[in-house]
Amino acid sequence: MNTVPRLIDQGPVAIRVSNVWKSYEDGAIPVLNGIDLQVEAGQSVALCGPSGCGKSTLLHLVGGLDLPDSGTVAVNGVEVNRYRDMVRFMRHEVGFVFQLHNLIPDLTMEENCLLPAMAAGVDRLSAQHRLRQLAERTGLQDRMRHSIQKLSGGERQRTAICRALMNRPGILLADEPTGSLDERTSAAIFELLMDLADREGVTLLMATHDSSLAAACDRIIEMHDGRIRANG
């Protein structure tokens, strides 16, 4: 395996997906069938489509959690599946927000958010300063010492957003971030996500079923059966 990072380009393109194919069970379950996609830095892009159309898989490939069978995924000009140091990539280049918040229930909000900083070896003072900044922006400044189990669904998802942004990633990948929330909380979380993405200058790639939320994004990409049906 070639471990030397290959520079694709230096332009404003944050994510470039070229002819990506992905299947499971040794090809028995095709998921992505020749995806081509380009997202410019700072854009917010909604990936829409029915369940099983490949939205989450595409996010996983962009985030370096999985590798394509063929094709290339490049983030900030560097091919992800050839990335020399995937751990570094995941620490600094991308942040994930999932439908289920995926927080560690026995830790506090503060401890959960500091995990990426700890993994990256960020000094404690800087990490706490950054966390306070994010907590204020997400309205969680009074919840920092609270156990995750004592937070509401919305607060948990806001915590997950804080955690995803801790190491100032260039790209935020959100997989149905409001999927498990009620309509009102969902709208609030989405608004927060968009606001933070804008303030932090983050490129947002978000999988969602909610067309009203998708409509608020800069672009909407419709997927169906592992293909891009409409690229707006």
Binding site: S56, H60, G63, L65, D66, V87, M90, R91, H92, F96, F98, N102, L103, I104, D106, L107, E111, L114, L115, P116, M118, A119, A120, R124, R163, N167
Partner: protein, 369 residues
């Protein structure tokens, strides 16, 4: 700090499981410590019986067990006349039995022997010892379990012996033994000589010269200083090896307990490990949390085991029947070795779970759980 919280959180989340694992290590450490200490004490006491204040032990070369050693009486007589020797005491060891007690240690000694002279006489007169052939002196515990007292006839082996004294010694083996005049013991055990000669030198710096003299004058005999004897006597080596082997098995079981706990720990939080990976944890960092958990369990268990082991030893010491057998003077080195072994086995128990945790692919764990 967060790293420690991650480690502790998981242990506290499954308190019972963690406690069982800690208890496993604790019992292993306590068992190892107790076995080593008791056997160490027993070896120390046996050495004490052999030397009894002497510096050098002389016995037959190349015997696997001192019970098989036969040192000619003439050698003892000659050695006792050497100028460097303060006194040389021939001692014949034997094992006798009575109707209810299959094993009673018998010491065939001369009337001048320090074992008899230096003991606390609870009944009888030391000057009487050795005057009549069939007279014996019993250790305090031997008198107790044989249910006899001074003046009685006691059946030992194929003969009946007249009890002329009861003594208390600092040594558990001697306290449970029978002292016979050397000549009577030689007759009883059909031996011409003795098992060993314990030698007290006028100047202990002469030990090397004395050993050389023995090698030259009596090639079939060997002379060893006390510490040298304790190190090299094959029976002691076997006992020590047995103690460490038994203790090691205990520790291995403790290690398996930790391994089981850690396997459960990893398998029940695959999603959590996947979350750590998504948040940028490297393989090393993930493995470190698993090893740290195992180390915390092993260290807590080892400390609890030390306390438990010491408590068990002190309790054993309080049992009158074991008086003198249990050595509670636990030395720092064996303690350190036991704790180190517990930590190593505990951490080794985390090898497979850590390897498994490192193989967890975040995408699969998050997709299917």
């Amino acid at each position: 700090m967060i790293f420690l919280r991650l480690v502790l959180v998981n242990l506290l989340r499954h308190r019972i499981r963690s406690l069982i694992s800690i208890a496993g290590v604790a019992f292993s450490v306590a068992a190892m410590l107790t076995v080593i200490s008791i056997l160490g004490g027993a070896i120390g006491m046996f050495s004490g019986i052999l030397s009894s204040g002497a510096q050098v032990i002389v016995f037959e070369r190349n015997v696997s067990d001192l019970f098989f050693s036969d040192v000619p009486t003439s050698a003892a007589t000659e050695i006792s006349m050497w100028s460097s020797v303060a006194h040389a005491d021939p001692v014949l060891f034997g094992v006798v039995s009575s109707s209810d007690h299959p094993i009673i240690t018998c010491f065939g000694v001369t009337a001048e022997d320090a074992r008899v002279r230096g003991a606390t006489w609870l009944a009888g007169n030391p000057d009487q010892f050795g005057r009549e052939g069939a007279d014996v002196v019993l250790g305090e515990r031997a008198a107790e379990f044989l249910g006899t007292t001074i003046g009685n006839l006691v059946p030992i082996g194929h003969g009946n012996f007249h009890v002329i004294g009861i003594v208390k010694t600092k040594n558990g083996f001697e306290d449970g033994g029978v002292f016979m005049p050397l000549a009577e013991a030689q007759k009883f055990f059909h031996k011409d000589g003795s098992s060993v000669i314990t030698v007290k030198l006028r100047n202990k710096d002469d030990a090397a010269a004395f050993k050389n003299s023995i090698r030259t004058r009596f090639p079939s005999l060997i002379a060893l200083e006390d510490a040298e004897f304790s190190r090299s006597y094959s029976q002691f080596k076997i006992l020590k090896a047995t103690a460490w082997a038994v203790g090691g098995c205990g520790l291995a079981l403790g290690g398996l307990g930790v391994a089981n706990t850690m396997i459960m720990s990893v398998f029940t939080r695959i999603r959590e490990i996947a979350i750590l990976r998504v948040n940028g944890f490297s393989n090393g960092q993930i493995a470190a949390t698993i090893f740290a958990e195992a180390a915390a369990v092993a260290a807590t268990g080892a400390l609890a085991g030390l306390v438990l082991g010491c408590f068990a030893l002190y309790t054993l010491k309080l049992i009158p029947a074991l008086h003198g057998y249990v050595d509670v003077s636990i030395h720092p080195l064996p303690m350190a070795i036991v704790v180190l072994l517990a930590l190593i086995t505990g951490i080794a128990g985390a090898l497979y779970p850590a390897a498994h945790a490192m193989r967890i692919r975040a995408v699969e764990a998050l997709r299917f759980e």
